[in-house]
């Protein structure tokens, strides 16, 4: 490589920096088995749930294949497991995956390499959020495939309002960005404690705090301001407003968590 003898320092643009950081994260994502394992998990779990509950001969959790993807209406309070177990589970798997992915950065010490060079803390947050969102979006796709195949095997009904279904799926995919930012933030906060960050991501990913809140304040649409709330809101009775709510909530939390995460990283020691 051509070496320069003189001391010239060119400031890399934001685009160049983020391209480098995204490049590193995607390279690692595609070169680690973990990503593919999680894609497989996201497909196998819905398929298993559907086929196993159907196989009982007795009560099935779902009457319709698409309930595996989303509930009929936004129910924050859980009455039965069928209302709960839908594509939102991707966000639980995603939380664990993101924790492992980011945890590796700190446990291996590779962050030293990243932050010694031009990478800003903000670049790190943005890149991790985007890569994590990408992997969760991919999991949504494999989940869909797994769920539909499982539903076909169990012979469930496929009847649905197509536009609502599409909005529900798209809404959840859009929510991936917000969730990814949340997990990135959690993992930055607990960067020294791998176990805690996995546990925290899992706990919040299950939506238990919001389900708990719903138990107190009822099925209130105010809960849509939270990530779990609008993820539930993306259901089989969705319309264009749902899409808008998901987009706004997801982007808003993305901005908030990225700002907070960058602040924490730049104010605190990296390790």
């Amino acid at each position: 490589m051509a070496q320069t003898h003189e001391l010239k320092f060119e400031n890399p643009s934001f685009a160049k920096r983020i391209k480098g950081m995204l490049g590193v994260d995607f390279y690692r994502l595609f070169h680690t088995p973990m990503y593919y394992i999680f894609l497989a998990i996201a497909a196998i779990i819905p398929a298993m749930i559907v086929s196993m509950t159907g196989a009982d001969g007795g009560q099935t959790m779902y009457t319709n294949v698409w309930n595996i993807v989303a509930a009929d209406s936004p129910r924050y309070i859980v009455h039965n497991i069928g209302e709960y177990a839908n594509m939102n589970m991707v966000f639980i798997f995603g939380g664990i995956m993101v924790s492992i992915f980011i945890g590796h950065d700190y446990r291996s010490g590779y962050v030293k390499q990243l932050f010694t060079t031009h990478a800003k803390k903000r670049d790190y947050m943005i890149s991790k959020s985007l890569v994590s969102a990408f992997s969760m979006a991919c999991m949504c796709v494999t989940y869909l495939i797994g769920g539909v195949v499982g539903g076909m095997i169990s012979g469930l009904s496929f009847e649905v309002n197509i536009s609502s279904l599409l909005i529900a799926i798209l809404g959840k995919v859009v929510m991936s960005l917000g969730w990814a930012s949340l997990y990135t933030f959690l993992n930055v906060i607990f960067r020294r404690y791998f176990g805690i960050s996995v546990a925290a991501s899992f706990f919040i990913g299950t939506g238990i705090p919001i389900i708990g809140a719903a138990a107190i304040i009822g099925n209130n649409s105010l809960l849509n301001v939270f990530l779990y709330g609008s993820s539930v809101y993306a259901c089989l009775s969705s319309n264009i407003v749902t899409m808008l709510v998901c987009a706004v909530v997801s982007v808003a939390w993305t901005v908030i968590y990225n700002l907070l995460g960058s602040l924490v990283l730049s104010r605190c020691d990296v390790y």
């Binding site: 490589m1 070496q3 320069t4 003898h5 003189e6 001391l7 320092f9 060119e10 400031n11 890399p12 160049k16 920096r17 391209k19 480098g20 950081m21 490049g23 590193v24 390279y27 690692r28 070169h31 680690t32 590796h104 291996s108 010490g109 590779y110 962050v111 030293k112 390499q113 990243l114 932050f115 010694t116 060079t117 031009h118 990478a119 800003k120 730049s266 104010r267 605190c268 020691d269 990296v270 390790y271």
Partner: protein, 299 residues
């Protein structure tokens, strides 16, 4: 212009200062040997320079720019404490990720280049966790050399290297500073090795820089002495002490400080019936200088 200019830098951990109002000046093109006892704050200073830690106060400038400046940061290579690599990824993949991060254009060529420099080209496919201690160290050095670093920060890089590795390290550092005008900050406890290449020294103690000097300064300050052995060591020792002001017995030799007239001494001893077996002109090295400085400060 200085490659590193640190003024009044402090960093505390739970109220205890690891780096305490430290000043440091590293000229461009220098190989700056950073020495101090365990826990004196060398690694902490280096982590501060690399932006891994947030300072309590003080300023750090690299090439007259704030140390956070992306333009200067992209040309800093570092190996601090241990090589931070993903254990389950191959050596090649680890280097590739850093090459991508740096935005290099000919990434494969650049990785080949640095692997050849550290003589690890045959181990590129090996998983990082399967590498030996010295191999890991070499990979860390390769990682730091990626791109076109203007400043290298190496924290005890010769730890765990074999004889060939140490020689390689010396060659790399001399080459990179002389050919490419790179500046190197290197900390090490192996003073004998450091002395062979360093152009400047900084001596740190309890987080404070107690002395900065160039290799030339050290040469000027370093005492000369003559060391010798005779048949009757005790008699010769007593005799020489009457003749010269600073005579010491060390490591089985008699040392006469500030005197390097070996012929004169041989003649004198012969005349007085102390046949000389062995005699050598010496200069005290970095190690002795450092130990003496430390004991002075302690007193």
């Amino acid at each position: 212009m200085n490659a590193i200019e640190i003024r009044g830098l402090s960093k505390s951990f739970r109220g205890l200062y690891a780096v305490d109002n430290l000043n440091m000046t590293v000229p461009v093109g220098a190989i700056y040997g950073f020495i101090g006892e365990n826990g004196s704050g060398k690694s902490t200073t280096e982590k501060l320079i690399c932006g891994h830690l947030v300072p309590d106060k003080g300023s750090i400038k690299l090439f007259d720019r704030p140390y956070t400046d992306a333009g200067v940061r992209v040309r800093v290579g570092a190996l601090i404490e241990n090589t931070g690599c993903f254990p389950n990824s191959s050596v090649w993949d680890n280097l590739m990720m850093q090459a991508i991060n740096l935005g290099l254009s000919d990434r494969a060529g650049e990785i080949d280049r640095v692997l050849r420099i550290v003589r690890m080209e045959d181990n590129a496919k090996l998983k990082f966790k399967k590498c030996s201690l010295g191999m890991k160290q070499r990979i860390g050095i390769a990682m730091a050399l990626l791109g076109d670093p203007a400043l290298l920060i190496l924290d005890e890089p010769i730890n765990g290297l074999d004889a060939d590795g140490m020689r390689m390290m010396r060659e790399i550092l001399v080459d990179i500073t002389q050919q490419y005008g790179c500046t190197v900050l290197i900390s090490s406890h192996i003073l004998g090795e450091l002395e062979k290449i360093a152009t400047h020294y900084g001596i740190i103690r309890q987080g404070k820089m107690i002395q900065e000097l160039s290799a030339k300064d050290l040469e000027g300050r370093a005492k000369v002495f003559t060391s010798l052995k005779t048949q009757n060591m005790q008699g010769a020792f007593g005799f020489l002490r009457q003749k010269f002001p600073d005579v010491r017995a060390e490591d089985g030799y008699i040392r006469i400080y500030d005197v390097d007239d070996t012929e004169g001494i041989v003649g004198l001893l012969m005349q007085n019936n102390f046949p000389v077996r062995e005699i050598k002109k010496n200069k005290i090295g970095l190690e002795e200088y450092y130990i003496e400085l430390m004991s002075k400060k302690e007193a």
